[in-house]
Each structure stands twice: as C-alpha cells, then as structure tokens.
Symmetry: C2
Subunit: 330 residues, 2 copies
C-alpha cells in the first residue's frame, strides 16, 4: 500500500491512498482523516485501507484523481505532514569516516556498536515539491538523502526484533543541513538546532511489502539516486555499508523512552565505501575533494539550485516518487 | 487564563479552562477540542476562551468540576499532552559552571552569548502526577526543574522582540535526565537521545498576564520550589542569573527554522549563583558536594522516590499547581 497526504485543510493534511504506479490517488478520509490518525489506529483501520487500495489499483474508486497533476501543482504534502518525533541516525559510517578523515581524525571504535543519533525538527515537514527556504546562502545549504521508517508505538527497551514489527511505513527524506553552522554548534556539545532545516519527505510512504525482497533485515537494498543542479550526483545502495539497520536504530531510540506511533526514524545520509557510487550529500563530495585535490570544489546549494532524490525498483519503476526541491530565499 | 488538559479520549486530551485558584475546571471542547487546536487557532478562539474563563471564575459554568479531585485521581494530562517540538535551552550558566568546575574545566566565552540548546522528545509528555518510569535505577535518574513557554507560530529569523509576542502560555517542566547515560552520549557529539526521558508539565499552563509584574523581560521573577524525597531541595529564583530570557531562547531556536504553534521552549534547569537557594536538579548538588566534600553524597532517584516542583506568587498561592511524581520501574 502506498500512502500520501494532500495539503490542508488542517496542518496534518488529508490522507490519500495512491496506486502503485503513482498515477492515481483517492482521499482516504472516509477511513482515516489524516496519516497521524491512521498510524494511531492502524490495526483497526488497516483492512479497510487495504480494500480501498485494491479497489484503486483495479481502476475503481470513482473519486480518484490524477496524483501526478496534484504533485506538479504543489498540492501534495509530505505523507506525514508533521511528526511528533524525528530521530535521525548515522548508519553509514563511510559518511562519518570521510568527515573525520578530512580533519585527520579517526572514527571511535564505539561508533561501530553504538549508533550516532540526533533528534531534529518535524513540526512542519516539507512536501516533495516544496522549496528549501533559507535566509542566507552563507549557511552552506546541503541535501542529505536518506531512508526513514515511520513507526507504530514502540515500548521502552524494545529489541531490534521487536522494533522490526513496528515499522509501518518507509519513505525517503531530504534532511536539509546547514554545513557552515554545524561545526560551531556541534562544538557546544548539545547536537543540532540551527544546523538543520526542515526535512522533506518523498511523495508517498509505502508499507514494507511494497518493496518485496528489497526490504531485508531492516535495510532497503536499492540505490538512492541523487541529482544536484540537474546533474547526476550519486546512487549509493542503501543496503550496502549500513553499520546499523532501521531495526537497530529504532531499538536504539527506544532504549530509554517509548516511541509513539508516527515516530520518524532515519538512517542518516546514505553513503557507500565505493567512491563510484557518488554521494547523497554535498559535504561528502567536498571532503573527498579536499583530501584528493587539496580543496573542496563542489559548491553548496545556492538560491535557485535544484536537488532530486529518488529510488527505483528492479524494473526501473519509482517506488516513492521523487523529492524535487529548489532552494529559495525565505 | 489558566488552561489544562484532561486525559483522553485521544492522545491530545481534552482542553480544560481552570479557575485561578485551581479548584474548578470546565471542558473547553465547545470552543477548542484540544490545546493544540487552540494554539493553532488562538486569535479566532481567544475571546470565547476568555469569556468562558471569566464565567468560571465568577462561579458560572454549570458543568464545572473539582479540578483537584481530577488531579488526585491522575486524570489530568500535561496541559499540552504532546508537542511537535521541545527545545530546551540552558539559560542558567551557574548550572553549566558547576558541571564544568567539577571536571576542572571552564565555561567557553561563547556560552555567554550563544545559548546551549537541544531538541528532546515530546511525543508523550507526562501529566503532573504521572510516574517517572525507567527500566533501571542505574541510569542515574534526576529531575530538572524548569520554566517553559508554549509558542504561537514564529517566523524564521524572528528577533527576541518578535519572539516576545509569540509567547502564548507559560508552565513548569520536569525535564527528566539519566545522568549516568549522558557522558557517553554527549561524547558522541550529537546531543541527547537516551540521556533524557519523557518530560512532565505542571497541571496548568497560564497566559503571561496571570503572572502580573513577575513576568518581565522574558523571565519569571519568582522562585521554583523543589522537594526531593519529601525534603526541601531548593528554591532558586527563575528571574535571577538567567543569561538568556525565553525571548532570547525562542529567537535562537528560530534562527534557521520556523517554529510552529505549540512549540515548547524551556529555560534549562533553574540555578542561582547563591548556594543558599539550593538546586533544581540532583546533579548540581552532587557536583558541589564533589568539589566541597570530595565526594557526591546526594543519591540519584531510586524507584519509589518522589519529586515535587512548584512556583508560588507573592501571596503564596500556587500558580501552575505542583508537578508531583514518583519514580517507578517501567
């Protein structure tokens, strides 16, 4: 099942069911008004949702409309337009290793067993076509292409196995980062507040069964294709080089707290050891350039620049639709 | 106006108006079903809320009930039972100075100009009488008594003056901390995830006018009275020694992001330079003991231990009601 949200009328949007080809959608508001409502009442509403999704897939649902047209008109919100919790891990240690190598540092041994994770803003997720709005280009505006799980309620102390049962939906994230603000902020020791902007989600979030065997062990074994300023920038495989699965990350987040339905847990920037796969954030390209060429050449994002983040199945079909954003002055 | 929430039927609870003496309350669901709804529609609903509050104060509102009885029965939720964003500052630098002095470190000059702030969990705030539930006493369970503002929508880049207009409500917070988990987590550099538990809020949140002249310059100039295990533990004045006002903290949080209505911004543990005022967290007492006595004597909280956090006006009347919690095994 593929789910999306239309913007309005309230801040939680209106829940949509979308067909697998992402061409048609229908409001699910007769079943659940919002994605958050569905997530809180999943077991009670799931079968009715599945029935409606099957009817839509078969060409039924006479109130269905053109999803691509709504997307193009900017009417589609993030599938979960706002979340009570966004916890972002850092599962791909080649990302961390490159950051540290550039400053002649090594990765602490503990990072291979104990996930890095921070909590970020999620009170207003960007829709998949919404602009990235910043006050200044000097912030060092960067994308971070990631995979995220949207969870059910998770008990405190849940194991990775228990966490696996709590993954309701998967989607893509652009975790916008302000690179030039981060060093001073991290030096204070309390994590990111100013260094991270709002996040965008892909047009749809999907139940794990939509991924077939590509969803295995809490990882999506497919490539995340990133374009920056209209040019190919990377297609790292989200299933490779992940030190931690989404199950591990959810369990880590739940060590000392319950996670409530609708919690969004991210993998961190997808990154492969293999340089040929490119990158899912500008900073990593810049760090590699710094080490190899003596200086960073790839610029951060300027106003007007575009990013595109997408994932395709083995038939070349888009799974989540593309995050396509342009940077704008706020 | 004083506002609270009753637990249920949904996760956002039911909005209540409470009289100034905290003896009687009435459901406001004819005006706004939940606190979050009110915060998102404040200007449109404010006058009706004020009318109902005045009617309650004058003994009207025939559906009013005994607020203290509901509180005693554990039926009262946090005024905002869950928030899309909880950003906690560290405005009282004597707290930071004591932490650093105990490890023979100094406070960086920048801390006096650039607030420390982290983002924490708020997907399930504890009610004022809910137990603090932890899996292990070994976590080093601690209270942190704080003041927090609940905001309206705040624009990115808002100045402290603009932030001042966005303070809708004020309340007290117990920002539960797991001290023995924090050093290793902060060493990773991404802030707190496992080191902080759910937060409790006071029984009511109040509009700033309820505080009269005690609310001045973005600070509440009153003492926060803390009891631990039934004994007086401290009464630092929230108006003294605050390097940053709530206006400064809101503006800091909004530097690179919009804050949406219902954002909760905290002052950090209230702490005075004057030792005679005691403490609003156990760690600070322990650090002072360590420096002065050579070892920390005050134990962290064990299962069964109680904490009480309250603030009184100049007539000795409770403003927000008391946070009264006991520690329990999860």
């Amino acid at each position: 099942m593929k789910l999306a949200s239309l913007k309005g009328p309230g801040r939680d949007g209106t829940l949509l069911i979308v067909n697998s080809g992402l061409t048609r959608a229908v409001k699910a508001d007769g079943i659940a008004p919002t994605m958050q409502h569905l997530l809180e009442n999943w077991d009670a509403l799931y079968l009715r949702m599945i029935d409606a999704a099957e009817s839509l897939e078969c060409g039924g649902e006479r109130h269905a409309f053109d999803f691509q047209a709504a997307l193009a008109k900017g009417e589609v919100a993030a599938p979960l337009p706002r979340a009570f919790q966004w916890l972002d891990g850092s599962a791909y240690l080649s990302h961390v290793e490159r950051v540290r190598r550039a400053r002649n540092d090594t990765v602490p041994e503990s990072f291979y067993k104990d996930p890095l994770m921070y909590q970020g803003g999620a009170d207003a997720m960007m829709g998949p076509r919404d602009p990235i709005r910043a006050l200044s280009e000097d912030w060092g505006i960067d994308l971070e292409g990631e995979v995220a799980a949207i969870t059910a309620d998770v008990a405190m102390g849940a194991s990775p196995a228990q966490a696996s049962a709590a993954v309701r939906l998967l989607t893509l994230v652009n975790d916008v980062s302000y690179r030039r603000l981060i060093p001073a902020e991290l030096a204070k020791g309390f994590g990111f507040v100013n260094g991270k902007g709002a996040n965008a989600l892909a047009p749809v979030a999907v139940t794990p069964d939509e991924l077939g065997s590509s969803w295995d062990g809490g990882k999506i074994h497919l490539r995340l294709v990133c374009h920056v300023r209209g040019q190919w920038f990377g297609n790292p495989n989200a299933g490779d080089d992940a030190q931690f699965s989404l199950f591990d990350l959810i369990a880590h987040a739940a060590k000392t707290r319950e996670l409530k339905a609708g919690t969004l847990v991210g993998t961190g920037t997808i990154s492969n050891q293999d340089r040929a796969t490119g990158f899912a954030c500008l900073m990593e390209a810049r760090l590699v350039e710094q080490v190899e060429l003596g200086e960073a050449k790839t610029p951060f994002l300027s106003f007007g620049d575009s990013v595109k983040i997408e994932m395709f199945d083995h038939h070349g079909e888009t799974i989540f639709g593309a995050i396509e954003q342009r940077v704008e002055k706020y």
